[in-house]
Symmetry: C2
């Protein structure tokens, strides 16, 4: 095999497939990037058996062939090469020689035979949206998936298509994040749970440009993202997702309009009095025109008032400040509306059209003091 | 006590004194910043008993007083306050109230009585140089002090003044870094060993501007840096520093002139084949007009040729690549000269005037292969 790339093209393709290289695995071949130039096209593949990425690298095939190279070493070499043409050549002993200007690296390769190629997946349903939108919708929801695997479904996000609206939902038992996007076109209804890891990795590869498109295909067990020269295939999470509709309610006793940035900065200041892992709530006291925030901890106490627009009852309620911060950070509106019922019921931060809904459970506080 | 600051002035002063707050200590009072407004001047002090910093904060004294506040919490609070006037007020129970706009923090303080004020040091000899120069000279030598405390003297740097030249030396048993600066003015000869930690911290506070001055005072056991509104006092390291003159020699068998950037990039590429902690040398083969670099490891091998100007004998010699990288990184010259004797003798990277000298011991290699 003998291939020539520009360094920048090579680095781009390697960086993309690196996202599906597992850091630990019992199958050493999966720690490799497969370079397949058995045709006139150069295809890079990586696969951790749950997530797989395939990308077409721009380069010239001088001699066809296939080789699997240790992903970490190979990517490090490429990263540090001078900005010039890079030649990759293999010999009969599967040693790869990587040459760029006067630098010459030799690294041992593996035959591609044992490599786990991506599963062949039937491509039927497909939706198309901009890379910007997909990247945004992931960023705006991914923080409220559960970190631990006790409930597998909570580690993923629901992607639901209904009436040509894509609804993305994540929840961890303490909060729910919901984002809705209207799709351009007619699509059959669909409901799948996509692993959080897949979404995290794909959002790192997406260009984030409004003008770049991404197509999403659904099959029985897989979701496929196709964009630019790249295909990402991921297993879906099995099982019926939580019925969230019954947790959402449009009844409320108190409605607050507040400047988002002021609210966020204030909570951010308050959290410095909370040690990592400590579960001190921030106490919010809502009265006419004023929201008082208060936190008390072993380190000290903090109090701050923020001007608000309020309708309905006064209320005092406690929250885990992190949950408020996470939600407020991904809302672009200058002003947000908060809906509350009582100190034990969840609060909702949502816009009028419910394009976003953030539900947060309160923390029990001793309101008598 | 009642003081008013602008947030930016307060943050600046707090950030400066934070550099001498110990992260762990058996004396909790040392984890505090002392705010002393017993006169009309506001002085912030921190002290870890080896290094102490005192800075005058710009602010208004509405009511005189003294208090010690937990440095970490206090600095975190200041950092996150809105950009406006900040008031610090203490009550008779030593509780400090920090107010800015509508935010109000209460944190417990301590009486200043137990605080270890900076030692009173007699100020005799003093040299003056630009903050830029001092910051540079530290950066250019600090990497070759020893990390472990087996030999206390190796954890510091020699500051030697002789014939109005300041010579700064660091060494760790494998290499020596020397920088010389001509001083403007007449100064008595002096020789002290300054703790590396002091130099690291002070270089973070120095502005790095050519037009800003710093005065350095020497006493029996201390060194004092005075600049802007700040005084840094540090203990010196006791003992006679190593006699380095006998390790330096101007004899050589081979002299090489090489482009610094090419050389540095090449070694940097080679090191990716060396695992952290692994002691693989880079092998340098010097012939007429060409320097060949080679590294072999379990991960693979690398070879690269660089054009050089050479005079004297051919030589093959091995080095710890990190030592070469460290020295080359802090040399500003486009082209560097390397002087070699034989594969077992140290090499010197130095300029013609010996304003800098980097001595590096070679690694034994099997030159027969």
């Amino acid at each position: 095999m003998k291939l020539v790339f520009s360094k920048s093209n090579l680095l781009k393709s390697v960086s993309i497939v690196m996202k599906a290289v597992p850091s630990r695995t019992t199958m050493p071949i999966l720690e490799c990037i497969l370079i397949d130039a058995s045709t006139n096209e150069i295809k890079f593949t990586s696969n951790d058996m749950e997530l797989g990425i395939e990308t077409i690298a721009e380069g010239t095939v001088l001699e066809k062939g296939v080789i699997a190279l240790d992903a970490k070493i190979f990517s490090e070499i490429v990263r540090r090469l001078p900005d010039n043409d890079v030649t990759i050549e293999t010999d009969s002993n599967l040693v790869a020689t990587i040459t760029c200007e006067k630098a010459k690296f030799n690294i041992p390769g593996k035959s591609g035979e044992d490599f786990a190629y991506l599963p062949m997946v039937e491509r039927n349903d497909c939706i198309t949206l901009s890379q910007f939108t997909l990247k945004e919708i992931i960023r705006q929801t991914i923080f409220s998936i559960a970190a631990n695997e006790n409930n597998k479904l909570m580690t993923g996000e629901l992607f639901e298509i209904k009436n040509n609206i894509l609804k993305v939902v994540s929840l961890d038992g303490h909060r729910i994040a919901i984002r809705k996007i209207e799709l351009a076109g007619n699509y059959p209804d669909r409901k799948v749970v996509v692993p959080g890891k897949t979404l995290n990795e794909i959002s790192k590869i997406l260009s984030g440009e409004v003008d770049d498109q991404v197509s999403i295909f659904f099959s029985e067990n897989h979701i496929i993202f196709e964009f630019d020269q790249t295909v990402v295939v991921s297993r879906l999470i099995d099982g019926e997702y939580f019925r969230i509709d019954q947790m959402l309610s449009s009844d409320y006793e108190t409605k607050v309009k507040i400047n988002k940035k002021e609210f966020l900065n204030c909570i951010d200041r308050a959290t410095l009095l909370v040690k990592e892992g400590d579960k001190k709530p921030i106490i919010i006291n809502i009265e006419d025109g004023i929201m008082g925030l208060r936190i008390d901890s072993a380190m000290g106490s903090m109090k701050e008032d923020i001007d608000i627009e309020k309708s309905g009852k006064d209320i005092m309620i406690g929250f885990n400040p992190k949950f408020l911060i996470d939600a407020l950070k991904v809302i672009d509106d200058e002003e947000v509306s908060i809906y509350l019922v009582n100190p034990k019921a969840p609060c909702f931060i949502k816009d009028d059209n419910e394009n976003y809904i953030y539900l947060i459970l309160p923390v029990n506080i001793n309101t008598s003091r």
